[in-house]
């Protein structure tokens, strides 16, 4: 009955006008770029601007401290749910106040990003709270939120500091250990090589034993070298680098292992990636490590796929967030280098630990457990991120995420 009466009384457009004119709270319609498209009488009361003065102005002019940008089409900003917050508002007469706003994304033809609807309540005018108590409460809530946010940042900075202090002490320890251990290793190696010269012809048992001692010595030396490399991964020599060339060089360095395990390498054709600012040698070290890991996971052959792409981070995730202290930020353009294998994958319970120093899933003597730890340190120094996951179709995927600047000319294929 009611519906029928309404249908008789109002055409759809009239109904909209009536709502805009009679609601005491402000109603503001934004276009996809966050500019004001429609302005209700309530909005005029709250802010003081007439429609003629304000239409076409960005909403940020009225709310300079909104938590997240309001432009729904801003790349990488998820804008699919209604949200509300209390925030500062700027009035036409230059005064500031507090407003509670609800922001609703507008759907058009079932797709998002068409704009947003803002419902604004002027907290200083809130009838339910005389003498501006609500405004003060909201200001307090705001201060608390800011405090929480800086506490989070402080915690994150502290963790980073602890991490770099740990690295520094590992560096000192590594140099000391290297010197103290390499000298005895040098004696063992010189000794076995000398004894070999004195071996009577045909003494296979002695020859094999000497070989075993020598192999074990070289293995111990590999661990020391890994430790030194891990410790050396604390400073970068950054230059503009074509990542395509770095991938080619890394594959070249891993060629021996690739051939040994009869692994087929597939380089997927990808979009152009601009020159990246990075330490070529260190990123090469990272890629070689990841390639060797992938190859080691396929002792009986398989396929190693390397893919590079340029993308924009769209979601929060490990090392990706909105804060200044996050290594990568939502909306940032990044280069992805993915290395996939067709091996058995990594046991789920070990995935969390693979980046820990001295943790390895390889058989004794095959890995030092420092490779992935070093990869994470090096990529972290570049302000990037490295991830390892199991692919749904089987095998593992390592992804290196590096910051990319899109303003410069592209290189590579």
């Amino acid at each position: 009955m009611f519906e029928r009466e309404m249908a008789v009384e109002y055409a759809p457009e009239e109904l909209l006008r009536a709502v805009l004119a009679s609601c005491s709270d402000g109603i503001v319609l934004l276009d996809a770029d966050g500019r004001i498209l429609e302005w209700s009488a309530g909005a005029q009361r709250v802010y003081g601007y007439t429609p003629e003065e304000i239409l076409g102005t960005p909403i940020s002019h009225l709310h300079p401290k909104l938590e997240a940008p309001l432009e729904p089409n801003r790349p990488g900003i998820p804008f699919d749910t209604e949200r509300g917050e209390s925030t500062l508002l700027r009035r036409q007469n230059g005064e500031t106040g507090m407003a509670s706003i609800v922001i609703c994304p507008i759907r058009r033809a079932s797709s998002l990003g068409a704009g947003a609807l803002l419902l604004v309540r002027d907290l200083a005018q809130d009838k339910g709270a005389p003498d501006g108590t609500a405004a003060r409460e909201h200001a307090l809530a705001d201060a608390l939120r800011a405090l929480r946010s800086s506490h989070e940042e402080l915690k994150s900075t502290q963790i980073q500091l602890m991490h770099s202090a740990k690295l520094e002490s590992i560096g000192r320890l590594a140099a000391g250990v290297a010197h103290e251990v390499k000298n005895p290793l040098a004696i063992i190696l010189a000794g076995t090589q000398l004894l070999r010269a004195y071996l009577p012809q045909g003494d296979d048992v002695a020859a094999e034993t000497l070989q075993d001692v020598e192999d074990a010595t070289l293995r111990a030396n590999q661990i020391i070298l890994g430790l030194l490399d891990f410790a050396a991964a604390t400073e970068l020599r950054v230059e503009r680098v074509d990542i395509h060339e770095v991938i080619t060089a890394s594959l070249q360095l891993a060629q021996h292992a690739i051939q040994r395990n009869h692994v087929e390498v597939v380089r997927e054709p990808q979009a152009t990636i601009p020159a990246l600012s990075l330490d070529r040698m260190k990123i090469e070290q990272v890629l070689v490590n990841l390639i060797i890991n992938a190859v080691d996971a396929m002792p009986d052959g398989g396929t190693l796929t390397i893919r590079k792409s340029l993308t924009q981070l769209r979601m929060r995730g490990p090392d990706v967030g909105y804060r200044a202290t996050d290594p990568l930020r939502v909306g940032q353009t990044v280069a992805l280098i993915e290395i996939e294998d067709t091996g058995p994958g990594i046991p789920q319970d070990k995935l969390d630990r693979v980046f820990d120093p001295f943790f390895t899933t390889k058989p004794p003597g095959k890995g030092t457990g420092l490779g992935l730890a070093m990869c994470r340190t090096i990529v972290g120094l570049h302000g990037g991120s490295v991830r390892l996951e199991n692919r749904p179709e089987g095998g593992a995927r390592a992804t290196v995420i590096l910051r990319a600047a899109t303003t410069e000319g592209g290189v590579g294929s």
């Binding site: 390499k182 040098a186 004696i187 000398l194 070289l218 070298l225």
Partner: protein, 127 residues
């Protein structure tokens, strides 16, 4: 052909003894060992080596300083030096090769054939 004289300097006496046996076993070299960095100058003046193999990290004096002392001596200034060092990472070797600042650096533990190859290369160059 006269044997070439090699002065081995390292505070690890066991190491120099083993290397000495190797080198002398080839029949090409006459070797003197020295485990005290501060005595290198006097030993070298007396022995007149054709090449010096010098450990970098020694307790009494740094290998680099010892090399500078030898360089300052008119009779020894031209004698080539090969440095042995325990603290060198794979990355260092990749970045700079075995020659840093015109000097040869070999990483411990050194393989004997490698050491012989470098000693002979230095001697060929000096000849």
């Amino acid at each position: 052909m006269s044997k070439k004289r090699v002065l081995l300097v390292d505070d690890e006496a066991t190491f120099t003894k083993l290397i000495q046996r190797h080198l002398e076993g080839t029949g090409k070299f006459e070797v003197r060992t020295e485990s005290k960095a501060t005595r290198v100058l006097s030993t070298a003046r007396e022995f007149q080596p054709d090449v010096v193999v010098l450990d970098v990290i020694m307790p009494d004096q740094d290998g680099g300083e010892v090399a500078a002392v030898l360089k300052a001596d008119p009779q020894l200034a031209q004698v080539p030096v090969i440095f042995l060092t325990a603290i060198v990472s794979k990355e260092h070797v990749q970045r700079q090769g075995e020659v840093i600042g015109g000097q040869t650096f070999l990483a411990k533990p050194v393989s004997i054939p490698d050491l012989v190859r470098h000693i002979e290369a230095k001697l060929d160059k000096a000849a």
